[in-house]
Symmetry: C3
Subunit: 355 residues, 3 copies
C-alpha cells in the first residue's frame, strides 16, 4: 500500500487528472475537497512565520508541504492507506480515525508552523535581554475576529464533506456534524474566555478567537462520532488547552508564534485525535482505538515532523527563510509584497522613503 | 399548550437532545436553525449597548434572552404554540404569521436592545447640556457595509429555512423567497438613500446600510407570501421608516442606540408583521389575519418587553450594566476585552499607559 | 429574434413577473441568477470611476447599464438570442459560447468602466505635467485581498449556475467547473506574481489579486468546456495579460483606472472568449467556433461600447459625471456619502471643517 502508485496522486495531479472523469463520483469530489484542504493546511505555517518569513522561502516550503508531505500523510489516513486500515488489518477499533482533517490538515499545518518558528527564531524585539517576551498585539483584531467567524462557517462544510467522503456517512449526518461542530467551537470560545479572565483579569479577544478555532480543529477529528454533550466537552478542553499552550510556548520555550498556529492547529488537533478514543461513539472504552490513535500521533511526531523540519532545513541552506533586519523593520508588506497593508501608517511613509 | 413541557426545550437542550436522533428530520433541522437564530437575536442588543455595556452584564442578559425569553416566544410562534394556532382555533386567518423570524429573532432582539438602551442611558458626550445629540460616527463604515452585505447573503438562507420548516413550504419556494428578500432589501436601501438625501442633502452611507437591513428584517415576516411588487413595497416602507425612526429615537426620545438596533430590528420587524395582513397573499383583506398579527404585536409589547426589561433591571441590581467613566473613556475594546480594536490609535497608546 | 418582445424582459421586470410562477423552473432560476449577475456587472465601472465619479451620475449610468444594455446583450448570448444561435443557424461551431458571463457580465462591465474612465479623465495628481503617472496606492490592501478571496468563492457558484442554466450542463458538471475555476484563478495569481516580480523586483500584492480576478473572469467563458491543464493555461495567460494591460493603459494611454477594472474585466474577458475557440473541447480546431467568438467580440466593441459611451456622454450633458475639485479633494466618502470611510484620517477632521 505504501510506496504504491496511488499515494502520490495529488502531487502528480496533471498526470492523474488525465484519466479521471470529473463528475459527482467520490474520486472527483475527493479531488475537489483536497484542493481546498491542502490550501488550508498550507496557510497555517504563515501564522507562525509572520513578520519575518521571506516570501520565496515560504513558497518553497509550501510547495513541499502541499506537493509531498501532505498528500503522503493524507493518503495514509483517508485513501485506504495503512493508518486507516489498522482496524481491518490488526483489529484496532475502526483504525486511525480523523474524519475532517484534524491530523491531515491541522496537525500537518501546525507541525510545519512549529518547524518554521524554530527555523526563523523570534521576531526582533520579542524577547528582551532578560528573556521576558513582549506583547506584540495584532494590528487589527476586528479583522482577526471576522476571519475566524468566517472559518467557523466554512468548517461546517469541511467536517461534513470529510465525514461523507472519508467515513462513508450518509448525507443526513450533516445535521449532527453541524451541531457538534458549532457546540464544540462555542464551548471552546467560552472556555478560552473563562481561562483568560481568570489568568489575566479580563477575557482576551484574540485568545478567545484562537479558542474557538481550537474547538473547530478538535471537532474535526470526531465530529460525526460525538453526541452534543461530548462535543461540548471536547471543545471546552480544546479552548482551555490552547490558551495554556500559547503561554507555555511563549514563556517557557521562547517559541515566537505570532498567530498561535502551533497551539491552535497542532495541540488542539492532537487533543481531537485523542477525543476519538476518549469521548466518541466509535472508540469509547476500546483499547484498540486508543492504540490506533496513538500510532497516528506517533507517526506525526516521529516521522512527519522530522521530515518537514528536514525539508525546511534544506530550503534554509539554499535560500534562507529569514528576512534581513532592514526588511523586518519595514515589515513584510512593504519589503516582500510592495504594498503597505496598514493604512494608518501612511502618514509616516516619509520615514520609509528616507531609508 | 403554554406551560407544557415542550416550550422550554431549547433552554433544556442537553436533556432534550438525549432523546433526539439528529438526522434530516424536521425536529433536527429546527434545532440546527434555532441554534443560529438565537445567536442572531442575541447579537442585536450589542448594537444598542455599544461603548458602555459591561461584558459580564451583557453575558448575563444574553443568557436570559437566549435561554428563556427567546425559546418561550419562539415556541408560541413556530412550534405549534398558541400564536400559531390562532387560525386553527379561533379562525383568525392563518394564525399569527412570521415566516422567517421578524418577531422571534428581530423584534425580540430589538426590544431587548431598547431595554438595554434605556437601562444604560446615553454615552457620555452624546447629549450636550442643551439636549442636542452629537454625531458619533462609526469607526469604520467600510466594515459596517461589508458586514451588512454578508447579512444580505445569509438572509436568503434564513428566510428560506424558516418558510420550509415553519410554514411547510416546498423547497421550490426558495426561488420566490430569494427574489422577494433581495427586492425588499434593495428597495429599502434605495428608499433610505432617497430619504437621507432629502433630509440631509446627501445619502448617508451607514443609514443606507441600516435601510437595507430593515428591508431584510421586514421581508422575514412575509417573504413566502409576497409577490415581487409587494416585496418591493414592503422594503421601501421599511427603508424609509427606519431612517425616520432612528431620528425620532435620537432627537425626540433621547435614546442613544449607536447601531440603530431598535429601529432596524424592532420597528422594521413590526412593519413586517403588519405587511403580512396588508400586502401578502396569506392575509390581504382578511380582518382575522389583521387581528392575529395585532395579537402577536400586543404580546411582544405587552408581555415580552416588560419581561425582558424586568430581567435586565434585576441584573442591574446585582451587577450594574454600565461601565465606569474610566472604562468608557478607554473604550470597551481595551477595558473589557484587553485588545485595542482601532489600529490607528496605536500611536496614541502612550496616553493610555500614563493613566 | 432581435426587436422582439422577449429581449427586454429584464428591463420590464414588473410586467413580466406578473405572468411568471416563481419556482424551480429554469425561467425562475434564470431570473434569480440575472438579478445578481447584473449587480456584479453594475459594480465593475465603480472601480474605474473611483475617487472622482459623482454618485448621482453613477446611479444614472448604472440604471442604463442594468436596465437596457445588459439585458439586451445578455438576451443575445444567453436566452436563445442571435449570438447563441450562430451555431444552429449558420453552422458556426456551438454558436457564440460564454458559459458564465465573461462577455455579458465582465466585458459589459469592463467596457462601461472604459467609457467612464474616458469621460472622467484621470484623478487630479495622477499625471504630473511631464506625463508620468504617480502611484496612488489602495487605501487598505488587506480589504482588497479579502474581497477578492470572497469573489473566488462566489465565482464557483456563478460559473456553475451559468453552465447549468445557459449551456444545459448536468448538475454533475459542477465538480469539473469548480476545479477548472480554481485552477484558472490559482494559475493566474501565480502568473501575475511572477510577472510583477520580474518587472518590479517584487510581487505586487494588489496586482496579484487583480491577477486571480482575471483568471476567474477568463474561466467564466469556457469553464465547463476546459480540462484542468487547459484551465491552468487559460488562467496563466489571463494573469500575465492583466498586469501588462494595466501598465499599458496607465503609461501609454494615460487612462486612469484606479481599480484595474478595464484590464481585469474587459481584457481578461476577451481572452476568455478567445480561449473557447483556442483551448476548449467545444471549439478547438474549429474555424466556425473562432468566427462565432469573433462575431461576439466585434459586437461588443463595435456596438455595445459605442452605445454605452453614447449613453454616458448623454448623461454627462445633463448631469456632469465628475465631481468638482473641492469634492475630489475631500474624497467621495465625505463629499457624496456623508461618512468618512478612512478611520485613520479622523484625527484630521478639523482640517475639513475649516474649509
Amino acid at each position: 500500500m505504501i510506496g504504491g502508485k496511488a499515494w502520490n496522486w495529488l502531487a502528480a495531479e496533471p498526470l492523474f487528472l488525465r484519466g479521471l472523469h470529473l463528475d459527482l463520483s467520490p474520486a472527483s469530489l475527493v479531488l475537489l475537497l483536497q484542493m481546498f484542504s491542502v490550501g488550508v493546511a498550507a496557510m497555517i505555517p504563515l501564522g507562525a512565520g509572520a513578520e519575518r518569513w521571506k516570501l520565496g522561502a515560504s513558497c518553497a516550503s509550501t510547495i513541499l508541504l502541499a506537493g509531498w508531505t501532505y498528500p503522503l500523510f493524507a493518503h495514509w489516513v483517508w485513501s485506504e492507506g495503512w493508518l486507516s486500515q489498522l482496524g481491518v488489518m490488526y483489529g484496532l477499533g475502526l483504525g486511525f480515525v480523523d474524519s475532517g482533517g484534524a491530523s491531515t490538515i491541522q496537525i500537518m499545518g501546525g507541525l510545519s508552523a512549529l518547524s518554521i518558528a524554530w527555523t526563523l527564531g523570534p521576531r526582533r524585539g520579542k524577547y528582551s535581554s532578560d528573556g521576558g517576551p513582549a506583547a506584540i498585539p495584532a494590528h487589527n483584531v476586528v479583522l482577526v475576529l471576522a476571519g475566524c467567524l468566517l472559518a467557523w462557517v466554512g468548517w461546517l462544510g469541511l467536517n461534513s464533506a470529510g465525514a461523507i467522503l472519508f467515513n462513508h456517512r450518509e448525507a443526513s449526518a450533516v445535521v449532527l456534524i453541524a451541531i457538534n461542530t458549532t457546540l464544540s467551537a462555542g464551548a471552546a470560545g467560552l472556555a478560552a474566555a473563562i481561562v483568560t479572565r481568570l489568568r489575566f483579569g479580563r477575557p482576551d479577544a484574540s485568545l478567545v478567537s484562537n479558542g474557538w478555532m481550537a474547538g473547530l480543529v478538535a471537532s474535526s477529528a470526531a465530529s460525526p462520532f460525538l453526541k452534543p454533550p461530548t462535543a461540548i466537552l471536547a471543545g471546552a478542553v480544546a479552548g482551555a488547552l490552547v490558551v495554556l499552550s500559547i503561554e507555555l510556548l511563549e514563556f517557557r520555550f521562547t517559541i515566537d508564534d505570532p498567530g498561535g498556529a502551533i497551539s491552535v492547529h497542532a495541540i488542539a488537533g492532537f487533543w481531537g485525535l485523542l477525543s476519538v478514543a476518549l469521548l466518541s461513539d466509535a472508540g469509547a472504552g476500546s483499547s484498540g482505538q486508543w492504540l490506533a490513535q496513538f500510532i497516528g500521533i506517533a507517526t506525526l511526531i516521529g516521522f512527519i515532523l522530522p521530515l518537514t523540519h528536514g525539508l525546511n532545513w534544506l530550503i534554509d541552506r539554499v535560500y534562507p527563510h529569514r528576512v534581513d533586519a532592514e526588511g523586518e523593520w519595514q515589515g513584510m508588506d512593504l519589503c516582500e509584497l510592495g504594498a503597505g497593508a496598514y493604512p494608518e501608517f501612511v502618514v509616516h511613509s516619509d520615514e520609509f522613503s528616507q531609508l
